[in-house]
């Protein structure tokens, strides 16, 4: 009787674990996953993404639901190419300002980050169509902060 209970406990635990896990992968960013057991421990840590991305455009949340029962995962959406800031400073956009959907050349200066009086140009990376503008005029930006997103260039 005790073992029967435990058996159903085990199945219940797995179900209760896996269901929300799937939802979570779908909805958010799993940061840490830990299993803590007397003679066993498992920990999975996701590589950090730049913080600002979590408040970015919807294009960033294309994480497909993984199918534990063995089915193939859905194909992920095309990722964005990000242009990030290399310095801490204040962002100023170039005139005329770019707009979403606009195709720009790789060399195009999209703006600059002013730090200690120096203008550090922000260029369009490999170029392409602008998918997201993630920074506002005059906004303080930190190292690694995404400024612009480009449609997947691959």
């Amino acid at each position: 009787m005790q073992n029967d209970e435990r058996e159903s406990d085990v199945r219940g635990e797995i179900e209760r674990l896996v269901r929300p896990l799937l939802q979570t992968f779908d909805e958010g960013d799993l940061v840490r996953l830990a299993v803590d057991e007397e003679e066993f421990a498992l920990e999975v840590v996701r590589r950090n993404r730049p913080r600002a991305v979590t408040t970015g455009s919807e294009g960033m949340t294309g994480i497909a639901a993984a199918d534990l029962a063995g089915g193939a995962p859905q194909a992920p959406e095309r990722p964005m190419e990000l242009v990030t800031s290399d310095v801490v400073g204040v962002f100023r956009g170039s005139r005329p300002a770019v707009v979403i959907g606009e195709r720009v050349a790789a060399s195009r200066e999209l703006g600059y980050v002013e730090a200690l009086g120096i203008r550090n140009p922000v260029r369009a990376g490999r170029g392409g169509a602008i998918a997201a503008i993630m920074v506002e005029e005059g906004e303080p930006v930190e190292y690694g902060q995404p400024l612009f997103g480009f449609e997947g260039g691959e």
Binding site: E43, V88, P140, E142
Partner: protein
């Protein structure tokens, strides 16, 4: 209570960043954290009022990235920067840059940092101030000069690099025939390590204790001497592992002389803010070694016995205020010990470890203070210092402080990386440590004894 600073940027990470954050918050001063990409989930980021990522994991590109740090201060409107210890804390140029941008550097003047940062200059200033220094030479220009000193002072002597640190360019010479070869190899090593091959000689004190004096001075001429710390329990690499205050088995006369000398030294350097004068003690004699122009890792043992908050005083001094104590207000009470919980394997020459912390249970109860950035699930990145936590035990006397520390260490659970906790329990329960007053060779001897015992057990 509020210090005259409006906002403080904390240019550091780990426990010392939290320490400064605590002092600021207790004084109602908002804080700005900086962090590397590897520290995004660090406690010092979460506890600050604002935070800026200043670069990737490696320190050179983040915690030492002066332009990004200054820019973060300017953007956030911080009017002061606390450098903590390590990183930019003893960088005179950084202190100047802060000043040039109208930001208060929470520490001494660039001149004081620069003077004390160069060992030969520091020693010269101290000699002029009549502070006893180890008998030694200026930069030696020739083997003959070195030989003459060694003859006068008697062997053994020590060759040291003027730009040195961490044992680089250092050689002990026990007899005249070794001298020439040692000079040349020390000089090459120093040149390779620091780009400066100049060396000098000192009388080698064979079993010295490391005794240091905490000082605190404001811009109004007040100088506080906050007693001594004994930091003789050092790893073979000379890094401190266990510190205590007051120093055990020191006489009243020794202390009086030490404090007088410390006061003279502070005045000679026109020193302002918190600093530490390090001495080698040899019986009743003591010799100036160096001055650290910053708050030190082991400052909490002084805080415990004097019931003072050194970091708050640093903030007050940087704001141009008066220290909130006078020397006559201060009375040492009881005994305090600090243990550094490092992610290191003492059995493997203290090799540092990185990883993720599975279980973290920190000690508590009477007389126990914990300073740490640890939490369950925190990761220990490979880029930085291996110190995870400091545990400070305060007791009515040294025996009680030791007993408290031992029980606190036994309460401590840090799973996921090897730590110095079990080894420190061994040290604290060792009769030689318990007797008090060990010299800096104590820990290396203990380690050698253990490996001999292990070898004997195997054979």
């Amino acid at each position: 209570m509020k210090a005259g600073l409006k906002k403080v940027l904390i240019a550091n990470r780990g426990e010392i960043a939290l320490r400064v954050n605590r002092a600021c918050h207790e004084l109602d001063i908002p804080t700005v954290a900086i962090f590397s990409e590897a520290d995004r989930e660090s406690l010092h980021v979460k506890r600050a009022d604002e935070a800026f990522c200043v670069g990737p994991g490696p320190s050179a590109r983040s915690y030492l990235n002066v332009p990004n740090i200054i820019s973060a201060a300017l953007i956030s409107g911080a009017d002061a920067i606390h450098p903590g210890y390590g990183f930019l804390a003893e960088n005179a140029r950084f202190a100047e840059i802060c000043r040039d941008h109208g930001i208060a550097f929470i520490g001494p003047s660039p001149d004081a940092i620069r003077a004390m940062g160069d060992k030969a200059t520091a020693k010269r200033i101290m000699v002029e101030a009549k502070v006893p220094v180890t008998p030694g030479t200026d930069i030696v220009e020739s083997v003959e000069e070195a030989r003459a000193f060694a003859k006068r002072a008697g062997y053994p002597v020590l060759i040291k690099a003027t730009a040195g640190g961490g044992g680089k360019g250092m050689r002990a010479v026990h007899a005249g025939q070794e001298l020439e070869q040692a000079l040349s190899s020390a000089s090459s090593e120093a040149l390779a390590a620091f780009g400066d091959g100049r060396v000098y000689l000192e009388k080698l004190i064979e079993r010295p204790r490391h005794i240091e004096v905490q000082v605190l001075a404001d811009t109004h001429g007040e100088v506080l001497i906050l007693g001594e710390r004994d930091c003789s329990v050092q790893k073979p690499s000379h890094q401190k592992l266990i510190e205590e205050a007051p120093g055990p088995r020191l006489g009243a006369e020794f202390r009086r002389a030490l404090y007088d000398v410390a006061r003279d030294a502070v005045k000679a350097v026109k020193y302002v803010n918190a600093g530490t004068l390090e001495f080698l003690a040899d019986g009743d004699a003591f010799y100036f070694m160096e001055m650290n122009t910053r708050i030190q890792v082991e400052h909490p043992v002084t805080e415990a016995i004097f019931d003072i908050d050194l970091v708050k005083e640093q903030l007050r001094v940087a704001a141009g205020e008066r220290l909130s104590y006078r020397q006559s207000d201060l009375r040492a009470c009881g005994h305090a010990i600090e243990v550094r919980v490092n992610a290191e394997d003492p059995a493997n020459n203290f090799a540092p470890a990185a990883g993720t912390l599975k279980t973290v249970q920190l000690p508590g109860g009477p007389g126990i203070r914990v300073d740490t950035h640890l939490y369950e699930g925190a990761s220990v990145p490979p880029y930085y210092d291996s110190m995870l936590a400091k545990i400070i035990a305060h007791g009515r006397d040294r025996d009680e402080a030791i007993a408290r520390m031992v029980r606190a260490l036994r309460e401590t659970v840090v799973d996921g990386v090897k730590t110095t906790v079990p080894f420190c329990i061994e040290v604290l329960t060792d009769p030689e440590f318990a007797a008090g007053g060990v010299d800096i060779g104590y820990l290396p001897r203990l380690l050698a004894r253990e490996s001999r015992l292990e070898a004997a057990a195997v054979s």
